[in-house]
Every structure is written in structure tokens, then in C-alpha cells.
């Protein structure tokens, strides 16, 4: 039996059709798209086609609003730093406590440079308080940066509404849509979004390619200056094979949008329902009503995530965890903590993230494996008794903490 990959929010397989499209751009069509000769010229046309494919998936008005970057992280940094550079009198940033490190770590750094960063909190289901958000919008704010969908819980934020609210106050709005693009429909020309980040490797394109969408007319300052590539907005010779691959991947994502939101969603729902029915003391995190169709985040109480992952891995199942120990940091996931999930459960969260390549058979196999893995680890846990959590777990086991 082959291994089961349920970690598609971390990265995805390059679709074989995407790979086919890319192949000629290594050894045959290797020219520099900026060159005048025929070697470069053809590559130039390929990039143009890819730009159009991406424009279509995003529903962008102009293809020149697509800027190729090296990854989602670069797009995030470029967007936020550009907003600050272009509006030197505005010294505030609004973001959320659950952003990806690509935004949060940058914002924390900017705080040391004298900027004020407002981090919106979330409730127990990972939702934002829009009244609070509204109260922070002022002419001191350079940019709002809020993720479209959360990578750990899958929770979707009301991005269009938030962008509209910012636009009414004349404030730039950036969204990290790395997890949303390709999974939920997006129509940028109907929105008030100024900037959007996406990353190829989350939607079956290769790693190391990203896009920054920049609405026409939004003031902009490049991160990388040098060549005239991307109309001088992102210098550096284009990663032509990856761009071609991303174009194809976007086209395919558009074709599979309905599949993602029915079939893939059905697999996710069956997995959750199957695990919750078979395993006591576990629960789904995030907002069940506003979630990516492919993401299940389940907290298993009284055990730790890395241990679960190691045993899953041994059973041929790949998933990921918000536990501290998988990342090398000492803190459990900032997303789980922000939702107020207790330590004994936050450490035991496991994220199963699907793609269109998964099957219902795989789902059933996972549902079969999980209960015994959880039971095995609970047997080792000081919070667990014969048949359930010890009474008053917090009191029965109250270790001396360092």
C-alpha cells in the first residue's frame, strides 16, 4: 500500500501535467525572455500566457497586475514594505495574531524599527472582531495585512468586506492568500483588495515561485531594484520554467474549483466525522462554517502532536501538527493559543490537509489507524487513567514547572 499524503497545506505534488508544460523550458527553450533573438522571444510568449492564466484564476482586471516573485514570503514582504516606503508618514500596520510567520515575523521586526503594529485577536473559533478592526482604521495606518485563509485551522476571514472597509478610509489592503488561491473562488476586479500574495507550491506548481498581485494605481516601491523585469517592479531574470508551471497549475485549479469544494470537501468531512466518532476527547478547531474545503484540524487531548505524527508516519500517513516540538520552538502553535485552546489540547493538534489527489479509500484507512495511535499514546500519558482522562487532570497531575 502506498503512503497517504495529507499535508497539502505544507506543500503539494507538482501535477504531472504541470511538469510536462515546464519540461521544454530547461534544455530547449532556455533563452532569456528579455533577449531579442528567437531563443528568448519564445520564452517571452510563454510568460505572457502564464500571466494570463494566473490573471484568470484571480479574476484580476489587467495582466500587468501580476508580478512574479520567488515565493509567498517574498510577496508578503514586498507588499508590506512597499506600503511603508510609499507612505512614509503612516507608521501603523494592522494585522492579526494568527498570520503566517512570513507576515508576523516581519511585523515584529518592524516594531523594533519604530512602527506600531496592531494585531487583531481571534475568538475560540478563530474569528475576528470587525468592530475592533473598524476602530483601528485611521489615516495613520499604512497597510492592513490579513490572511485570506489560515494555514493551520483553515479558517477563512471576511477579506472582501475588510478590504472594502479599509478602502473607504483610503487605506491599502494586503492579503496573504497563499492558502486560499486555488481552493476557493476569488474575483479581484470586484474587490477592493490592493495587494495579494500567492505561492505556487500550494497549488500543484513547483516550489520557489510566487506572485504579488498589485492593483493598478496602488502606490508601489520595489523590494528588488535592478533590471526592467516585471516592469521594473521586481528585478531579476524570470524563473521561466516555474512561471510556465504556475500558469498551467492556475488553469487546472480553476477547472477543479468545483471538485475541490464538493469531492475534496466530502473527503475532509468524512475524515472528521469518522475520527470524532471513533476517538473520545478530541475536537475540531477553527470555524466550521467558514473553512477551506481541504483542511481538518483536530485536537487530540492529553497527548502531544509530534508523537502522533511519528506514529502516523510509521503507518504511512503524512500529516502535520501545531505542536511546539515539531517546529523546534518551545511554544505550541500561535494559532491554537490565540484561539484559547488549552495547552493539553493545543500540543495535540494534528492538521490533515487534502488535495484532489486523495481518495476516499485513503480516508477510510486513516480513520482505521488513528484510534489505536491515540490510544497507545494516551496509555503513556500522565493525564490519562484506565479508560479516560484521570479525574481532574489538572490536579491529579500538577508537575513542578520550570
Amino acid at each position: 500500500m502506498s503512503d497517504i499524503y495529507l499535508d497539502n497545506n505544507a506543500t503539494t505534488m507538482v501535477d504531472p501535467a504541470v511538469f510536462e508544460e515546464m519540461k521544454p523550458y530547461f534544455c530547449e527553450q532556455f533563452g532569456n525572455p528579455s533577449s531579442l533573438h528567437s531563443f528568448g522571444n519564445k520564452v517571452g510568449f510563454a510568460l505572457k500566457k502564464a500571466r494570463k492564466q494566473i490573471q484568470d484564476l484571480l479574476g484580476a482586471e489587467h495582466d500587468s497586475e501580476i508580478i512574479f516573485t520567488s515565493c509567498g514570503t517574498e510577496s508578503d514582504s514586498t507588499a508590506i514594505l512597499s506600503a511603508l516606503k510609499a507612505q512614509p508618514d503612516r507608521k501603523e500596520i494592522i494585522t492579526t495574531v494568527v498570520e503566517h510567520p512570513a507576515v508576523l515575523t516581519l511585523c515584529e521586526y518592524l516594531e523594533t524599527e519604530g512602527y506600531t503594529v496592531h494585531k487583531l485577536e481571534v475568538d475560540s473559533k478563530g474569528r475576528l472582531d470587525l468592530d475592533k478592526y473598524k476602530s483601528l482604521l485611521s489615516d495613520k495606518v499604512a497597510v492592513v495585512s490579513v490572511m485570506w485563509a489560515n494555514n493551520e485551522s483553515g479558517t477563512i476571514f471576511p477579506i472582501e468586506e475588510m478590504a472594502q472597509m479599509a478602502a473607504e478610509k483610503g487605506i491599502m489592503f494586503h492579503t496573504d492568500a497563499v492558502q486560499a488561491v486555488g481552493k476557493i473562488p476569488i474575483n479581484l476586479k470586484e474587490s477592493a483588495i490592493s495587494m495579494l500574495s500567492l505561492s505556487g507550491h500550494k497549488l500543484h506548481a513547483p516550489k520557489g515561485i510566487g506572485v504579488l498581485y498589485l492593483r493598478r494605481g496602488v502606490r508601489y516601491r520595489p523590494l528588488l531594484r535592478g533590471g526592467h523585469q516585471e516592469r521594473g517592479r521586481r528585478a531579476g531574470t524570470e524563473n521561466a520554467p516555474a512561471i510556465v508551471g504556475l500558469g498551467k497549475a492556475c488553469e487546472m485549479a480553476a477547472e477543479h474549483m468545483a471538485f475541490e469544494n464538493t469531492q475534496v470537501k466530502a473527503m475532509r468531512d468524512r475524515l472528521e466525522q469518522g475520527i470524532l466518532a471513533a476517538v473520545p476527547h478530541c475536537f475540531v478547531t477553527g470555524d466550521p462554517d467558514n473553512r477551506l474545503p481541504n483542511t481538518a484540524s483536530i485536537a487530540f487531548e492529553y497527548i502531544e502532536g509530534e508523537a502522533i505524527l511519528l506514529l502516523l508516519n510509521k503507518a504511512g500517513i503524512a500529516a502535520s501538527s501545531g505542536s511546539a516540538c515539531t517546529s523546534g520552538s518551545l511554544e505550541p502553535s500561535h494559532v491554537m493559543r490565540a484561539m484559547g485552546i488549552p495547552y493539553t489540547a493545543a500540543h495535540g493538534t494534528v492538521r490533515f490537509s487534502f488535495s484532489r489527489y486523495n481518495t476516499m479509500d485513503e480516508v477510510e484507512r486513516v480513520i482505521e489507524e488513528v484510534p489505536s495511535i491515540v490510544a497507545k499514546l494516551r496509555k503513556l500519558s500522565p493525564y490519562w487513567g484506565e479508560n479516560g482522562p484521570v479525574e481532574n487532570p489538572g490536579e491529579a497531575f500538577a508537575p513542578v514547572y520550570a
Binding site: S323, C325, L330, E331, T344, A346, F397, V400, A402
Partner: protein
């Protein structure tokens, strides 16, 4: 995913002595609030001889926390309490053929549980004096709290001083920004400001290499031996040693022995030796571990 040794995996997948020991007369409950791991160690001690007859663990934690708990119980069974207390974190890590630097705190927890259980048996109250912070230097496994305390205690002002006192930052140097931030914060407590001293660029390792006159083979090997001799005392201080195995053009094969072999510092040690060789020989050379298992990446 972590690069766990076979031994760690063995103790994780098939932990020994899981569960509470029946009729235990010593119990130690410890945890680390920051990383959330927690461990209960139960001991059955024979009162006359203070020999540990049986030991069991219950752990809420990651793979290496479970593996180090299992290892600890195996190590202490049959020992007297005083013998058991001599076991260090490094002993636990060594028993498991090493732990990744980020995971060393798991073995610390095992040792603390042992101290707590012994204190409980003896009717004493155990107090934890160990505090742990986020890992800053991955090459030498030095955490934030350790760096802060050392800066305060010794009135340090530069990254170089921090490296000299704690080793932190002495390896790949990627954590220098982090150390500067800690210095800025700790110095600010005393109303001082951190000034980044020294050169912003390091001197290139093999700058003078091209002009170096060619040495004869024998002279070259003598020189290599001399460099190893000069490094040896430092290694021996850590119960290790190094031997020259072969020289093949630019490749210098050495054999690390004793504490250096399985230790996580092996890559660092080799990197350091290579650096010295390049400086002393005035040419670019590679220092390569002669045994296959010690083939570690030099990137650290």
C-alpha cells in the same frame, strides 16, 4: 522532520517501563511550562539498600521526550539512588546516541524527574532551579535564559564576549542577530545602549591561500600533525581525541574518538579543525571524518 537516531526511534516506538510502578515509594512530577512537555516518574526503592528495584514513566510529550523517559528508566533500574543521581543529561542523550540540539531539553526533564522522585522518596521538597528559554544558538544548544544570565553576571557588552562565555554564536554565526537583540534588551535594563562593535565583516578564511609556497609532502604532513597536536588538549578536556588517518591531496582524513564521535558537536569540531588547517597550511583543505558514520554535514 527530526533526524532521530535508531536508538531514539526504538525507545519511542517500543518504550520500556511505560506506566506507573505498583507500590512506588518515590514519585517525581516535572514539566516545562514553555514547551508543555510533562513527565511523571515512579520509583520502587528498597529501603535498606536504596537500590531502585523498578522504575516507570508516564509522559505527555514528543517523540524524544518519550524516548528519553524510557531510556532513563532503563538506565536507573538496579542502581542505588546516589548512583542514579550521578546520571547527567548528556548521559541520557549519549545512551540514545545523541539528540537534536532543539531536543536536549527533553533529557533535562528526565533528569529533573529523577531528582524530584528521589527527593519525594527521602521526604524532601525538590525545587527546580533550572529555567529554560527559546533556543538561540543551535550549534551549541544555548538558550536565551542562559545568555541573558551570563550577560548580567559577567557584565558582557559584545557578541564576541557572549561567545567566549557561553559558546553561543561560535559556530555558523546565524544567531548573531538574536544575540545582539538580547544584548540590546539586557543592557537597556541598566540604562546602557548596545553598540555593535568590531568589524561588520569577517576576514576571509583562506585569503592568503593562493600565494602560499608549496610544501613538500613530509613537511606538509608534519604541519598537519602539529595542528592536530595543538587542538588535542581542548578535545581531551571534553574526553575526546583526534587522530590523523590519511592525507590525500586536499583531503585530510581524521578519526574522532571518545566523546567527540557521536556527539552533536562533531560537525562543529571538524569545521573548527578544518578552519585551523586552512589557516596554518595556507591552502584550502577538507577535513573529513574517516569513519562512515561520522560523515556529518559541515554546514552545521
Amino acid at each position: 522532520m527530526w533526524d532521530y537516531s535508531e536508538k531514539v526511534q526504538e525507545h519511542f516506538y517500543n518504550p520500556k517501563n511505560a506506566g506507573a510502578v505498583e507500590g512506588a515509594n518515590g514519585v517525581g512530577d516535572v514539566g516545562s511550562i514553555s514547551c508543555g512537555d510533562a513527565l511523571r516518574l515512579t520509583l520502587k526503592v528498597e529501603p535498606e539498600t536504596e537500590v531502585i528495584l523498578d522504575a516507570g514513566f508516564q509522559t505527555f510529550g514528543c517523540g524524544s521526550a518519550i524516548a528519553s523517559s524510557s531510556a532513563l528508566t532503563e538506565m536507573i533500574k538496579g542502581l542505588t539512588l546516589d548512583e542514579a543521581l550521578k546520571i547527567s543529561n548528556q548521559d541520557i542523550a549519549d545512551y540514545l546516541d545523541g539528540l537534536p540540539p532543539e531536543k536536549m531539553h527533553c533529557s533535562v526533564m528526565g533528569r529533573e524527574a529523577l531528582q524530584a522522585a528521589v527527593a519525594n522518596y527521602r521526604g524532601e521538597v525538590w525545587e527546580d532551579d533550572h529555567e529554560e528559554g527559546a533556543l538561540v544558538c543551535k550549534c551549541f544548544a544555548v538558550d536565551e535564559v542562559m545568555i541573558e544570565d551570563t550577560i548580567r553576571a559577567n557584565n558582557l557588552h559584545t557578541v564576541e564576549e557572549v561567545t567566549n562565555y557561553t559558546k553561543a554564536g561560535g559556530g555558523c554565526s546565524s544567531c548573531h542577530e538574536g544575540i545582539e537583540n538580547i544584548l540590546t534588551r539586557v543592557l537597556a535594563e541598566k540604562g546602557e545602549t548596545f553598540v555593535a562593535g568590531g568589524a561588520a565583516v569577517a576576514k576571509p578564511a583562506a585569503a592568503k591561500a593562493p600565494e602560499a609556497p608549496k610544501m613538500g609532502t613530509l613537511a606538509r604532513i608534519r604541519k598537519i600533525e602539529a595542528v592536530l597536536d595543538s587542538i588535542r588538549p581542548a578535545l581531551q578536556a571534553d574526553n575526546g581525541d583526534v587522530e590523523l588517518v590519511d592525507v590525500d591531496g586536499k583531503n585530510i582524513y581524521v578519526h574522532l574518538t571518545g566523546a567527540c564521535t557521536g556527539c552533536q558537536m562533531a560537525a562543529m569540531t571538524l569545521g573548527g579543525i578544518q578552519q585551523r588547517m586552512i589557516e596554518e597550511l595556507g591552502e584550502f583543505v577538507k577535513v573529513i571524518p574517516a569513519s562512515k558514520e561520522a560523515l556529518v554535514s559541515m554546514e552545521g
